[in-house]
Symmetry: none
Subunit: 138 residues, 4 copies
């Protein structure tokens, strides 16, 4: 029996290394989580100095991005006050609809997983996730 | 012992087929969930191309409609800012109070279950649920 | 963006129809659940007359088979009294390690999901799952 | 504010690399999880080909070892039939009291975390965890 992988261990490792390097260059201590397209954990690294509360947040941002195939922040567009899907954030055991989760889409446009970063300000977390993604695609 | 059914498997199947056909005609990939009057899953179909996050949302919209005997969107009238039931959406493990869940009411006016649709825009999801319901009643 | 499907909606529908037909021929009222390789619900049908408690059991058997890539009953070989993995059944939110869950493996040997059946005796549930699988592969 | 680390990211990385290398040499596909002394996830890697069900099991074995400061298998000595702590395995959200989880104890005898491995036979998982630990201490 063969397990069908959407994201490989090698790809996940590139994301972890690049994300942590970018965070270190920014002087922030973060957690980087990589999930496959089924939202299952593939790889994870917690930098020294990161707060414990960010473990669940990093995984949650990645889960949000993987489950909806969009950035975690974009999910908030659907459920923020006045938007058409109030309380969507309570679905799926609780979404993390703010910056730092980015879907991983391959060259053929296929969703292969997601990366989630937490530990800095949300804008920093997003910059780190995008830098990791750029390294993977570069 | 006999199990008392509120909605039959045949009725649920009509709803799934009609809902998916309507979604296909609209070009959206959705999940259709049918619950009985006790809010227990009766039938479910996930179209190819639907995002995983919508599984829980489709079931949640149907749960919301079955539990309160009204459309999922109408529940928001009770709990939106300024309305008389703040945080009602946190009850029952988390409601999904936005368009796409519709109660199923038979010719005698009896609540027999609910249908929930997710995967498109909320307005599309509602149109699909209503089209399925019209087929069942037509 | 494209969602990568491990099992298609058409394949899941074949399983549901075949499983229910076999159950009807045996005179039992069952629930049939089909999950993808990531253990996410793809299709589900509850026959009239099935007990409500079997909803979670059918899904749980399929989850057990999808998560470990083996039959739900085979998981018990690892955790039964005297076996090398006591309490494995408490992992993953609670496994259902008894007959009725079967992994779906395609012609290339790739795990594409699982089917779970509950409502009859475990041996009947397994026979129904295997009959459905034979129809899919036949 | 400074976060007190029991195990460092560098140490965790050594464990992941050594554990995966040993597993590859044995021809098994495993998951390696490293927790700190507070039983919080520090680092995690899922090799290609590992079954999804082993994600929770690997973390569970490491949790069991970290929470009790002993090997996951040794916990079974307390709760197996006839032992003095029946149902201990149901504590802490469900322990995984079988081989593959090993506590990490530094040169001063201080518990600094735990490693958990799952994906092979329990005896293989334990051999991989011990090989990783030997590399860290070597």
């Amino acid at each position: 029996m063969t397990i069908s992988e959407t994201i490989t261990a090698d790809q996940a490792q590139v994301l972890l290394v690049a994300g942590q390097a970018h965070a270190a260059a920014m002087g922030v201590h973060v957690i980087v989580a990589v999930l496959d397209a089924g939202a299952h954990l593939k790889a994870f690294a917690r930098m020294d100095g990161a707060v414990l509360g960010s473990i669940d947040v990093a995984i949650g941002k990645a889960r949000t991005a993987a489950l909806f195939g969009t950035s975690s922040a974009a999910v908030w567009d659907y459920c923020q006050p006045g938007a058409p899907a109030p309380n969507l954030q309570a679905s799926n055991g609780g979404l993390m609809p703010f910056p730092g989760g980015v879907p991983l889409i391959d060259a053929d446009g296929v969703l292969i997983g997601a990366i989630g970063v937490s530990g800095g300000a949300p804008s920093q977390d997003l910059a780190i996730a995008e830098a990791a993604l750029a390294t993977l695609n570069g």
